[in-house]
Symmetry: C2
Subunit: 315 residues, 2 copies
């Protein structure tokens, strides 16, 4: 995780520094259910590395029918100097890690000094990943959790306590969960307000992970009015991020500040200890690129993987 | 090659039969030379198979600098029922084969009965592939070849004679090469007229492979005036195919006839023995899809390949 956090920080800096090309993604809608497979490519110019991630999602009968998760991923890396395929790796766990790492980067850059109380709105896999990542950069003293399913929240609490020895309180409402938080992470699939304006203490950082498509929403747009807003990619968040709703409502105005600009010291992040800060994460191909590159480097160092020569003449 | 020809015929029928989804391709321009990496996806609905081909091209210093070809390819197949990655295979040789097979399908469907004399305009790798494919469906008695480089044409002639025992005459001009031909295959990288109107005998089939991008051109648009025109994909040929120029000049009118429609008996192909027929091939993702599926089936039958379990938990 520390390697992935470093890679995602590099990715944000490269993106906002103009060192990245990410064409619009290519998607295919399958006949099965409402499933789809998307292809996202990213080019890190100075690193001379091109990545392609294939992500499937929405195969809701996979667990029953095939014993497979409802979404999977595959990442390819290509050498930008000669176009050669460098590696193929699983992209499922990688996506979970790099998305978790985005929360850690946000906490590092944007949380109030001394922040130690976390609230998790949403208690699925990505909530677990956020905690795995954030604990690398923040001393977590307590976690208050709330999710639509009380059983899901209980399972989350038990797992986090067992894995990290951090006490988790299952809140009876989202409002109660966030009441004392320094950092709130939202990882639901909601398409409506889950977190109301007025619930947060001054100085709270909200890491908004859930909204990454038009129509998806977790936060009350009013929450943006007096908050400092930082996004991962302005072009993408405008259309698909949590901020889409506050922009439409005229509560937030462009230009949007990118986390890469904050990391590069080109724009301020948090402006005071009392300011509420919202980080809007939609996920970018360059995060996959940088994370896959880090994993490949580690795999090579440790002798993990299998080598192929696709160009060898057939027998 | 017979398996690939069968697969490409199936691909054409599936495409024109409305059983295919091919989103616009996604491309990345590299800092190196004028190189690029493109990603083309195709979905064969009833076959429940999704393909993704990554193709690099334009790395002109690759042979010198890296001992690599200036373009390479990789194909992934995904199971459309669950989104799982089914296989990864080289896509370089596959592309050559499936493009060659398109010529064979055209000859099978559109050549004059008794056709036996071939002319090759362009003498590179794809000219060789065309002959490898066409000889599976036509008794080739003679080949007249012409290319910009006389040395290239001589090498081509020597290789074809050695590989297939078919005599090849190196013509001194394109006009001379095509004078007696029943089938003319054009595989150059030209962006201007190589084949003039008035040079062909009645009844000749022209397999136009070279033009697959806006601006590329091999044929005199006037050649289309009295010819029967058949394309691989109307939506694509309109923009990128040989027919783009004749359409712009108002010589050809829409709707364009697709080879898949001819194979499905929905539209006529050749209408008389004396008619000049032009087949405009731009290449489609579904050809990669169908060819890769055929290769995977053969590989499984023969126990070729290496198995992975990307989803196995890491140790």
């Amino acid at each position: 995780m520390p390697d992935v956090i470093a890679a995602v920080g590099d990715a944000y800096r490269a993106y906002s520094g103009g060192d990245v090309d990410q064409p619009p993604y290519m998607g295919i809608h399958l006949s099965t259910d409402a499933a789809e497979i998307d292809f996202k490519a990213g080019y890190h110019r100075s690193g001379e590395l091109v990545s392609l991630k294939a992500s499937s999602g929405g195969f809701r009968h996979n667990p029953d029918r095939f014993g497979l998760p409802n979404g999977m991923g595959t990442v390819l890396l290509f050498d930008g100097q000669n176009g050669a395929l460098t590696c193929v790796m699983d992209g499922s766990l990688l996506t979970g890690f790099r998305t978790g790492a985005s929360g850690a980067i946000a906490v590092q850059a944007l949380a109030r000094p001394g922040a130690c109380r976390l609230a998790a709105i949403g208690t699925g896999n990505q909530a677990r990943m956020q905690i795995r990542a954030i604990r690398e950069v923040m001393q977590i003293e307590s976690i208050h959790a709330w999710g639509r399913s009380p059983e899901g929240a209980q399972a989350f609490a038990a797992e986090i306590e067992a894995e990290f020895g951090i006490s988790v309180v299952c809140a009876t409402s989202a409002e109660q969960a966030v009441a004392e938080a320094d950092v709130v992470i939202t990882t639901t699939r909601a398409s409506g307000v889950v977190l109301q304006d007025g619930w947060l203490r001054p100085g709270t950082l909200v890491v908004a992970i859930g909204a990454d498509q038009p129509g998806k929403q977790e936060l009350d747009p009013e929450l943006f009015r007096d908050a400092r807003v930082v996004v991962d990619a302005a072009a993408q968040c405008r259309e698909k991020g949590e901020v889409q709703h506050a922009l439409k409502a005229g509560i937030v105005a462009e230009p949007l500040v990118e986390i890469g600009e904050v990391l590069l010291d080109r724009k301020p992040g948090r402006e005071s200890d009392d300011q509420i800060v919202i980080f809007d994460s939609t996920g970018m191909a360059i995060q996959d690129n940088a994370t896959a590159a880090a994993l490949l480097r580690l795999a090579r160092e440790r002798g993990i993987g299998t080598s192929f020569d696709f160009l060898a003449p057939a027998k």
